[in-house]
């Protein structure tokens, strides 16, 4: 009578990478739903395009690398990358934008570094920044919220816009700068924040029309992830607190040139970035004190780039910049070990 003798622990919590990724995906659903309701089906088409491309690239490279394909497709990390990238794209961007971005994210930013767990940069943000730098026109032609346009966009309409190239007249009718972009441009023209916002259909009471609800929906999804202990509160709280404090201080100094904390927190990719992108475990710092530093760093970059930099939104750049220093932060910030003096 011989038994197997594996070593302890003999039990496991049942946590898996797939489960982590699945819950992250579930948490994006409210945000996606609100996004679609304000900007139409283009969002969904982008997600599907990025998904198919990401999975195909992941499988292709895994085969080339002679790695098991199914366990890695099943882990869901490529799906998360694809969805986060797609959520960052303009809903009327041509189809090849999503495809190119997803391919770059998976092949260059993830697999070439060694695949799951080894990429120093957040793949979705690397893909996004590559697109933004390479195709600025396509990447900055945002669609106006459906409520602001005469035309209503059916799924078929979105499909046409994305696949059949730019139909100039339709796109012009429905495209518009984002609220953050508008603020940036107009502030340069010496307009005060109040002048820009008042009467502009792009803005509502809280922030940009639609964007405030999208951000609130992603905030809800993020809180769900914290509740489920998929992410810890440290990074999102640090990011949001930093953005809020910095924007609050400058807003108090000069409310005409600096937009309010409300606008900063509820515009652009703030919530998506704080809860879903900055918390990507692979490219972030790992211990809780290090996470706070990392989050503060992202918050500072978001505010600085949005306010004084060349780009209206800054989540992607901020995350990538902090990705670079994450290993260094981890090296220097170590918790005090039990029984040791600091």
């Amino acid at each position: 009578m011989e038994f197997k003798t594996p070593t302890s622990p003999h039990i496991h919590s049942g946590a898996t990478v797939s489960r982590v990724m699945l819950l992250v995906m579930a948490a994006t659903i409210p945000g996606i739903a609100v996004y679609v309701s304000y900007f139409g089906w283009g969002v969904v088409i982008n997600i599907l395009l990025a998904l198919v491309t990401a999975l195909a690239c992941e499988a292709g490279i895994l085969i080339l690398r002679k790695r098991p394909v199914l366990p890695f497709l099943y882990d869901g990390s490529a799906v998360v990358t694809a969805v986060l990238l797609a959520l960052a794209l303009p809903p009327i961007a041509p189809w090849w934008i999503a495809v190119l971005g997803a391919a770059f994210a998976i092949i260059i930013a993830k697999q070439l570094y060694g695949g799951l767990g080894y990429n120093p940069f957040n793949p979705a943000m690397a893909g996004y920044v590559m697109l933004l730098v390479s195709f600025p026109i396509e990447m900055t032609r945002w669609q106006a919220p459906l409520a602001n346009t005469e035309a209503s966009l059916s799924f078929i309409d979105s499909w046409h816009i994305i696949f059949s190239g730019i139909q100039a007249n339709i796109t012009d009718a429905i495209s518009m700068a984002t609220p953050l972009d508008t603020l940036k441009t107009e502030l340069r023209l010496d307009q005060s924040v109040e002048q820009i916002i008042t009467g502009n259909p792009l803005f509502s009471n809280l922030a940009g029309l639609g964007w405030e609800w999208i951000n609130i929906a992603f905030l809800i999804g993020g809180l769900f992830l914290i509740y489920k202990r998929i992410i810890s509160w440290h990074i999102p709280v640090a990011v949001l607190a930093t953005v809020a404090i910095l924007s609050g201080v400058f807003y108090l100094i000069d409310a005409d040139t600096f937009s309010s904390p409300m606008i900063h927190l509820l515009s652009g990719a703030t919530m998506l970035g704080a809860f879903f992108i900055a918390t990507d475990p692979v490219s972030a710092t790992t211990s809780n004190p290090a996470r706070i530093i990392y989050g503060v760093g992202i918050g500072v970059f978001i505010y600085v780039i949005r306010t004084w930099g060349g780009y209206p939104d800054a989540v992607a750049f901020s995350v990538l910049l902090m990705n670079m220093v994450a290993p260094t932060i981890d090296y220097y910030v170590k918790p005090r070990v039990f029984g040791h003096k600091q």
Binding site: H10, I11, P281, T286, F338
Partner: protein, 540 residues
């Protein structure tokens, strides 16, 4: 599946000294606590490993063929950190040889085997009723002679932990009835059934330690045991019974002390350094029996559980009973099991065969089917999620330890305090990539120990080699010197003989002296420098 890795914030706020991290694995304790304990049958063969404790193995004092009585000492402690072993039942010594023992390596080790005669006849016992008259060291001797070791699982000889040393004072004696590992219930049941014995044992221990305060700790999930101990403690007014939150690894000595007192046992240090001594509740009961009844440690409460047995329960088993016998007595079929674990599922180790015996530290035997344990998970790459760091009770960075252990960068691993890891298994338990983290740490520790041993060996070998080289050189120098002198002496003698004309007697004497000197010189290296010096002086 609900994942509750950590305590809620409220729990944490309510107990301010809580240790960091910890996990909440499914308890599986109710299965074996529905019924009271039963006495196990006396097996035909009792297998008693000489090494059931921390320290040196015991030394047999019986020979094959000897008749032994129950409670008779059959192996004596070898040195200070060691423990005696006693015959758990009467019978004949049939073998003293290597048998499989419960050990992570699955190795065979020297054991004394007793063929029992079924009479279970006690030898002479020496109870000490008026122990209060004895001083601490006499009490410790009784406890040492009874072969008592920590029954919680580590098996450190108890009398040593009752000896705080001449100039140390003990503030707190903690009785550990936490039993935080899933499945194990032997402490729970012994507290319910023998609270009186435990309390008397505690009184003795406290007397030996002269501890200022005494705390009995019971995890919240054992209300019956808590009540039993509380009722008993009322009679001794100053023993506190404290309920602690159910979280693994609360029963680990360092974590328990931190949670109760807020103090941390220094790294590489002992609890006595901060004035605390921790003993298991079952050990207290054993101390009671040793002192009041003169009974050595020959049996213990063992939880037999797991889905491989139809009647999980606690058994009072004789030390040395093969585990398979106990599994059968709980209506299990050892042949159908996938794994047999001694201890709990978080830190216990899997037995190679059911023939290994219950030893002094066997608190639990889990007869596992596939339901109880994970087998061969799909290991994914680390995604750096940090779940491991969140549950680590030592506040280590398990992920960094993993990277460095995996890449065999052992210096770095030690920089991240590898040796502070208590191998509780929390990190492996929560890892979403199912990486066997603890296995990597054990391997790294083993490699580092092996390296150190090798280095120590190499140092000794180098010293010996250098010493030998020096000796050879010295001997050769001495030899050359002797040759030179011998030649000189012979030449001198020859000269004298030829020159000798008048005084024959003088020549003869000179000859004799020269010969004697030559003879002295010819003696081996043992005729040391001193001799040479003398000769040299003589020559001058």
């Amino acid at each position: 599946m609900k994942m509750k890795h950590q305590q809620t914030l409220i729990q944490r706020l309510l107990s301010p000294h809580q240790f960091p991290g910890g996990v909440h694995p499914p308890q599986h304790k109710a299965e074996s606590t529905n019924v009271g304990s039963v006495k196990a049958k006396i097996p035909a063969r009792l297998i008693l490993p000489l090494h059931q404790h921390i320290g040196e193995p015991a030394e047999p004092i019986v020979a094959i063929g000897d008749k032994v009585l129950k409670g008779q000492r059959i192996a004596k402690a070898d040195g200070y950190v060691s423990a005696a072993i006693h015959a758990p039942s009467s019978g004949t010594i049939s073998e003293i040889s290597n048998c499989p023992i419960p050990h992570p390596s699955g190795m065979n080790a020297p054991c004394i085997v007793i063929e029992t005669d079924g009479e279970d006849k006690w030898g002479e016992l020496n109870p000490t009723q008026d122990w209060k008259k004895l001083d601490a060291s006499a009490l410790r001797n009784i406890i040492r002679d009874a072969g008592i070791v920590g029954l919680g699982g580590a098996g450190f000889p108890s009398f040593i932990k009752l000896n705080p040393g001449a100039n140390k004072s003990i503030d707190t004696l903690i009785l550990n009835g936490v039993e935080c590992e899933p499945y194990i219930t032997c402490d729970d049941i012994i507290m319910r059934e023998r609270s009186g014995e435990i309390m008397l044992g505690i009184t003795i221990m406290r007397h030996a330690l002269n501890a200022k305060e005494c705390i009995i700790t019971v995890e919240e999930n054992k209300p019956d045991a808590f009540n039993a101990m509380t009722i008993m403690a009322k009679e001794t007014s100053d023993v506190k019974v404290v309920k602690v939150p159910t979280i693994y690894p609360h029963g680990s000595e360092k974590q328990l002390i931190q949670a109760l007192t807020g103090k941390e046992v220094p790294a590489n240090g002992l609890a006595t350094q901060i004035g605390v001594v921790c003993h298991n509740v079952a050990t207290a009961a054993a101390v009671y029996r040793a002192v009041y009844q003169g009974e050595p440690l020959i049996s213990r409460y063992v939880t037999i559980t797991g889905s491989g047995v139809a009647e999980p329960r606690n058994i009072r088993a004789l030390i040395g009973t093969p585990m398979a016998e106990l599994i059968k007595q709980c209506d299990g079929n050892p042949a159908s099991l996938s794994r047999v674990i001694m201890g709990g599922p978080m830190m216990g180790y899997a037995m190679q065969t059911g023939q290994v015996p219950v030893i002094k530290t066997t608190n639990c035997i889990i007869a596992c089917t596939e339901e109880d344990v994970v087998s061969e998970p799909t290991v994914m790459p680390c995604i750096r999620c940090g779940a491991c760091a969140e549950v680590c009770p030592i506040s280590l960075l398990p992920q960094q330890l993993y990277w460095h252990s995996k890449s065999r960068d052992y210096d770095k691993a030690q920089e991240f305090n590898l040796f502070d890891c208590i191998e509780c298994g929390c990190c492996s338990y929560v890892c979403p990539s199912q990486i066997p983290l603890v296995q990597y740490y054990r391997h790294a520790k083993g490699e580092i120990w092996a390296d150190e041993r090798e280095k120590a060996h190499a140092d000794i070998a180098r010293d010996r080699h250098e010493f030998r080289q020096a000796r050879i050189e010295r001997e050769e120098a001495e030899k050359a010197e002797r040759h030179r002198k011998k030649k000189a002496a012979l030449a001198a003698a020859k000269k004298k003989t030829t020159e000798a004309t008048s005084d024959d007697n003088k020549t003869l004497i000179d000859d004799a002296v020269a010969k004697a000197k030559a003879k002295q010189l010819q003696q081996g290296p043992a005729a040391d420098n001193i001799t040479n010096d003398k000769i040299e002086t003589g020559d001058r």
